[in-house]
């Protein structure tokens, strides 16, 4: 379970439970706010002017309504309901299958409580869905729970209307529009009752609309209610097949939190729930364990390494949220823990060694980073522990990252510092982690190629070298493979995509997972390849695809109109050296085919920044053709109008990969 889900359970679950005596009153309140029926006045002709040629379907209405009635007495509980109301217009057969199988995401604090579905065909005949079939039909995928249903009666030209009621919603919600179809009209409405703030719950919400959503109005309604309306219109489909795009960051969304909720509240609340409980101080069992894992009389960094090694190699993580898997004492005995238990165990062992550490929760880089003005738990993903005295990090949930520099894939993310509410803290709660460095993510190869005239083949002395973050990932992958899988993996790394090739003399160095702990060591694979794959015989010699030794390169030439910004996912360097020993009696032609110099500069904050580059050189020195390649990418999101510049560098690598030289007898 991701930490965000856990948080929602802890923070919200009690809020979504209603007392029976208030149900009737509350139902009336909800009905007043949102009449849970079809829009009988729905007028299809309103959409006659929409251009839908070439589109599979259009969402003409995408509305979310959050209804909140705060507690009215000291013994009362607040009540919440969320409604979503969508109307789809189906234009092509291919959209029918997508619409037939519907997954309704639900969290433990916001479960689907009612569903109305109807399909209106071209002749206005209505097919209604029987929601009794929804009983217990749920699916769990990727740690998320979905109510699933198959919508009946859809044809080309049909309109499908879906109305869903959720019991409860979080104080910190994100309404995010991410659909495979264009959306004509989108709306997020929050309705709340302001009359009972005396009971210590400030209900005035703080909301931010992003990527198209704008606050349309804030209305005071009868009965002391307030209504916020955010609108967006003519939104492009966000689920597409585009490459080099970020899946979420450009989605239209509205974030919600309560008015007085600041980063400090979030930080302290999480600390209270996770880090202020279950700590074993100076217990005999813990002391004995610390003796066993050898942390006594060690420097701090060695102590951290030993504690991390013990937890990552001896404790099994379970999805079970039972409290028995959260107690350090029990975890030490049974060696099974859920993520809360893992964090408690770290804290227990570190505290008992008097090691100073700062716990953080980070926002998922592949999801959405928070708006600094609006404190939210939405998007929080993993715990990170920072050790200021040693200036190193631990990722408790990663089995292959070990104590050391911050992993590149979380470089530059926002992180929430977790603080003890009973201690004074005056710094920032939301910080930005150091950016990923391309110099810490390097992939190198060195190849010496010679021609065997007897059998018209090539012999390649090849080596792959991985540095920094790239080495850590490689070791992580190897650590979880058995011998035969390791062999196959290393073969693939060395052979790249060569079809007819034999590989011998394979050697490896510094591949054990232990090297991942604060190490700058390089993973090294070497081997000897014999192949005919890179040769095409011609009259008096051969064409040589020498650059194939660097491994398969991607390209993207053809793509329609760009919808999203260009997302360069990882900061990365590739370096290759290729030496070709020119056989006696032969000469080489066309080495200029191997020379490239392509660079992409983008204007970032008014400054021209070098984002990516592919530069290769070729020269003949003492009968050896030496080719050097230097390629790099910075990470980040860049304007879509610059797609061709980015594409040019990516394709340079591909063009280099397919380039050929001619080797002929003199």
């Amino acid at each position: 379970m991701k930490i965000n889900q856990i948080l929602l359970v802890v923070l919200i679950s009690i809020l979504s439970v209603g007392h029976a005596q208030n149900d009737i009153e509350y139902e009336q309140f909800v009905i007043d706010c949102y009449n849970y029926t079809w829009d009988e006045t729905f007028d299809k002709s309103k959409y006659d002017s929409i251009e839908y040629q070439g589109k599979e379907a259009t969402i003409v209405l995408d509305r979310t309504i959050l209804v909140h009635r705060p507690k009215r007495t000291a013994h009362d509980l607040p009540m919440r309901k969320k409604f979503t109301h969508q109307i789809y217009w189906i234009h092509e057969e291919s959209a029918i299958e997508k619409m037939n199988e519907v997954y309704l995401y639900q969290s433990s604090s916001s479960k689907v409580s009612k569903v109305l579905v109807r399909t209106i065909d071209k002749t206005d005949k209505i097919v209604e869905f029987d929601d009794t079939k929804l009983e217990n039909v749920t699916k769990n995928e990727g740690g998320s729970s979905y109510k699933i249903l198959a919508i009946p009666g859809i044809e080309v030209g049909s309109w499908v209307e879906i109305l869903i009621e959720y019991a409860g919603f979080s104080n910190q919600s994100r309404i995010l529009t991410r659909e495979p179809f264009d959306v004509v009209e989108s709306q997020v409405i929050y309705v709340s009752e302001l009359s009972s703030q005396v009971y210590n719950e400030k209900v005035d919400p703080k909301m931010v609309g992003r990527n198209g959503y704008k606050l349309e109005s804030k209305d005071v309604l009868d009965g002391g209610r307030v209504r916020y309306t955010f609108n967006a219109s003519n939104l492009s489909a966000q689920i597409t097949d585009e490459t080099y795009m970020h899946e979420y960051v450009e989605c239209p969304m509205v974030d919600l939190t309560t008015d007085t909720y600041e980063w400090g509240n979030l930080s302290k609340g999480i600390y209270q729930n996770y880090l202020a409980v279950n700590i074993l101080n100076r217990s005999v069992r813990v002391q004995k364990l610390l003796d066993e894992i050898g942390v006594r009389n060690q420097h701090e960094l060695e102590q951290i390494k030993a504690i991390e090694k013990y937890i990552k190699e001896e404790i099994t993580i379970t999805e079970d949220d039972g409290i028995e898997f959260e107690s350090p004492q029990r975890i030490i005995k049974k060696r099974v823990a859920n993520i809360t238990g893992i964090i408690s165990l770290y804290q227990t062992l570190l505290d008992n060694c008097d090691i100073k550490f700062i716990p953080y929760l980070i926002y998922d880089k592949e999801y959405v980073q928070p708006n600094e003005k609006l404190s939210t738990s939405m998007g929080l993903s993993d715990f990170i522990i920072y050790f200021p005295n040693s200036d190193v990090y631990i990722q408790p949930e990663s089995t292959y990252y070990r104590v050391g520099k911050l992993a590149n894939y979380i470089g530059g993310v926002k992180a929430l510092l977790l603080t003890d509410p009973y201690k004074t803290y005056t710094g920032d709660y939301l910080i930005t982690f150091p950016s990923a460095e391309k110099e810490y993510n390097v992939d190198k190869s060195v190849n010496r190629v010679s021609y065997n005239e007897d059998d018209e083949s090539l012999t390649i002395q090849t080596s792959k070298r991985y540095y920094g973050d790239r080495a850590i990932i490689e070791r992580g992958a190897l650590n979880f493979m058995d011998d035969s899988e390791q062999k196959e993996h290393i073969q693939e790394a060395l052979l790249s995509k060569m079809e007819n090739a034999t590989l011998t003399d394979v050697k490896t160095d510094k591949t054990e997972i232990g090297f991942n702990a604060n190490s700058k060591d390089t993973v090294l694979y070497t081997g000897t390849i014999v192949t005919e794959d890179m040769l095409s015989p011609i009259g008096n010699g051969f064409l040589l695809n020498l650059s194939k030794v660097i491994g398969n390169q991607v390209s993207f030439y053809q793509e329609g109109e760009r919808i999203h910004s260009v997302y360069s996912r990882a900061a990365k360097i590739y370096e290759h050296t290729i030496e070709f020993v020119i056989p006696d009696g032969y000469k080489v032609q066309g080495i200029e085919n191997l020379v490239f110099d392509r660079n992409y500069y983008s204007a970032v904050a008014g400054e021209s920044k070098h984002i990516s580059s592919f530069v290769s050189t070729a020269e003949i020195v003492d009968g050896v053709l030496i080719v050097e390649v230097h390629e790099f990418y910075e990470e980040g999101l860049f304007p879509k109008k610059e797609i061709d510049k980015y594409r040019s560098v990516v394709n340079a690598a591909y063009e280099f990969y397919i380039a050929q030289i001619k080797v002929v007898q003199i």
Binding site: V127, K334, E499, S536, L543
Partner: protein, 628 residues
């Protein structure tokens, strides 16, 4: 850019979740105990898994878990006896620690929207190097026709695999062994006692499962045994038959299927199709096409819903159904139109059984309709929106179908295999040279199963449908740019998709001083290889790829073609090359015909050699020498 970090991470995840375990499988066994309670059978299965941890530091997150599937429609909620045994671990604090963490969640296998299956996950506690992790799962099987098969191999090498069946002597039990020849260690013994009989199979040191893409299902290569109850004696002395042979299987299936009638609304649809049809065959085709295009396939089954079709009326109302729903609907609509039509059970090519060698429900996993046309039987699979009337779907070719010819009769008929020439991918390229690029016009005619898969991919593509054609046509290299694409016949279930386009291939030519080299075999025609392959390769369908290329020779250039017209025909693979020069045009026609549906491991060596020979021919370059 070579490999993005994310793809590496996802690779890592695959290793974590699907790779072989660093642990040793010590034992896996299944014990099936069949008893009688009055005139009813009681079937208890006890499955045991025992793994030894070799090196705790290399364990993956999934290694310390046991996964157990459960479907309440067919079996009782499982009882677990799961524990970590640390008897062999030095200084272990406790020798036996029971599993306490057991979670339950919904589970769906690939391609199934819903079938009611759930998944238990058990997490072993107190594990150290040397621990033995044991899980014993006991369940009652409710349905005597659905006993679980036992596979002797497992996800990793296994020291001991054992299947035991105990049953009273008045119950007749059959067993079916498959692929036992691949594991010479499997031993069988039969123990006859006064009141009961015990069958036992034991295997030692069984090699772990091999995974390869485009292989057929596990039943085709893993050693396994299927137990079936043939019959048993009732208290009054009568014999109750269960699954003796395919006749009993048909009888059981028939109990789950009832012929249906259509309501007025559905009959109106049949009438409207009748009105536009000029012959019986045309009407049959129109009904088939109507079901194909108006009912969407959703594998939405729950328990016995996996065996019992919904009524045609509800399927038309819903506009969706699974294979049984669509097959029964097709048959019912045809019958309503006074056309003969049958339903038929069939196993897809992922299964390697026949109704004779495996007369149990494990033999099949699909249902289709069958329409008699004179002496021929036309197999109709409406789950594919793209399949052509008169042709089966590709994944049931060559398989036996159990055709229900009436309420009480059936015939076993083999589904035909479509010839390679009827799955033709024909490309015509007229090219000219422009600097280092090759430019020109192209045409492509795609028919048969190739057309069906293209249409499916086209419909499921979210954006960039033009890119789909570029990826599919795959000319030259990735520098291919396709423009002005027009495509006809994409929505029709007949003929071929006809595509016309302009193309450019950037940097396709290799220029060196006064010579230019061109690989004229511009389109790949061999789309499989056998590199490092161990398991049978399933090719989906027989096919033919034909390419006609013409290249304008620039003025002042001399052309050298270092190959001649030639045919290589070996092992049901044919490569034909013809070449000529007329005026200033170089002509090349080449085709690759694969008259195979599959390649068995015993043929790998011969076919590797044939492919090597053919690929060498297709790697030839023509040379243009410029006079200046």
């Amino acid at each position: 850019m070579k490999v993005l970090l994310s793809s590496l991470l996802s690779t890592l995840l695959i290793f974590i979740t699907h790779g072989q375990s660093p642990m040793k499988m010590k034992k896996h066994s299944l014990e099936i105990t069949i008893t009688k309670s009055g005139d009813k059978l009681k079937i208890i299965t006890k499955e045991t898994s025992q793994k030894e941890v070799l090196d705790i530091s290399k364990l993956r997150s999934g290694d310390l878990k046991e996964y157990v599937h459960w479907n309440k429609a067919f079996e009782s909620r499982p009882d677990f006896n799961a524990f970590t045994d640390n008897s062999n671990v030095e200084n272990a604090r406790k020798k036996k620690v029971r599993v306490e963490s057991i979670t339950l969640e919904d589970y769906s296998s690939r391609g199934v929207f819903y079938d009611g299956t759930k998944l238990f996950t058990l997490t072993f506690p107190a594990v150290e190097s040397g621990s033995i992790l044991t899980c014993v799962t006991t369940k009652e099987e409710y349905e005597s026709h659905l006993l679980p098969p036992f596979y002797f191999d497992n996800y990793s090498d296994c020291e001991s695999a054992e299947l035991t069946v105990r049953f009273p002597n008045d119950i007749a039990i059959g067993f079916l062994n498959f692929n036992h020849e691949t594991s010479d260690q499997i031993e069988f013994e039969e123990i006859n006692e006064a009141k009961e009989t015990i069958y036992r199979w034991r295997a030692k040191n069984v090699k772990g499962l091999t995974y390869e893409s485009d292989a057929r299902g596990r039943s085709c290569h893993s050693p396994h045994t299927i137990i079936h109850i043939k019959s048993y004696t009732l208290s009054n002395g009568d014999i109750k038959t269960v699954l003796r042979d395919k006749n009993d299987l048909f009888t059981w299936y028939s109990e789950l299927i009832n012929d249906q009638k259509l309501g007025d609304h559905q009959l109106a649809i049949v009438d409207s199709l009748n009105a536009i049809s000029n012959s019986k065959n045309e009407l049959a085709e129109n009904i088939f096409n109507w079901v194909q295009h108006n009912i969407k396939y959703i594998a939405y089954e729950d328990g016995f819903g996996g065996f019992i079709p919904r009524t045609p009326e509800s399927v038309i109302h819903n506009r969706f159904g699974d294979c049984k729903d669509m097959a029964l609907l097709t048959k019912t609509m045809m019958n309503a139109a006074n056309l003969d039509c049958y339903i038929a059970w069939v196993g897809t090519r992922s299964k390697c059984y026949t109704y004779d060698n495996c007369p149990t429900p494990l033999v099949d996993n699909h249902m289709i309709a069958a329409y008699p046309n004179g002496d021929d039987l036309i197999f109709l699979d409406p789950t594919s929106s793209y399949s052509v009337f008169g042709r089966p779907s590709s994944f049931i070719q060559g398989k036996q179908a159990m055709v229900r010819t009436s309420e009480g009769t059936f015939e076993i008929i083999e589904v035909p295999i479509i010839d390679g020439k009827d799955n033709l991918d024909h490309t015509i390229i007229n090219a000219r040279i422009d600097g280092n690029d090759l430019l020109g016009k192209g045409e492509n005619m795609l028919s048969g199963f190739g057309k069906e898969s293209y249409e499916s991919a086209y419909d499921h593509r979210l954006t960039g449908k033009e890119q789909l054609f570029t990826d599919y046509i795959s000319l030259g290299n990735e520098g291919l740019k396709v423009e002005n694409l027009t495509q006809d016949n994409l929505d029709s279930n007949k003929g071929s998709i006809n595509s016309k386009f302009d193309f450019s291939l950037k940097n396709y030519l290799r220029k060196f001083e006064n010579e230019t080299y061109i690989n004229p075999f511009i389109k790949d025609v061999i789309d499989f290889n056998l590199k490092d392959r161990e398991l049978l390769l399933d090719l989906d369908y027989k096919s033919k790829t034909l390419v006609e290329v013409s290249i304008e020779i620039p003025e002042g250039s001399k052309l050298d073609v270092p190959f001649e017209s030639e045919t290589i025909a070996e092992n049901d693979l044919v490569l034909e090359i013809t070449t000529s020069i007329e005026g200033n045009i170089f002509y090349l026609t080449y085709s690759f015909t694969c008259n195979r549906l599959e390649i068995k491991p015993k043929d790998f060596e011969a076919i590797r050699s044939t492919l090597k020979k053919m690929n060498k021919k297709l790697n030839k370059q023509i040379t243009l020498t410029h006079e200046n």
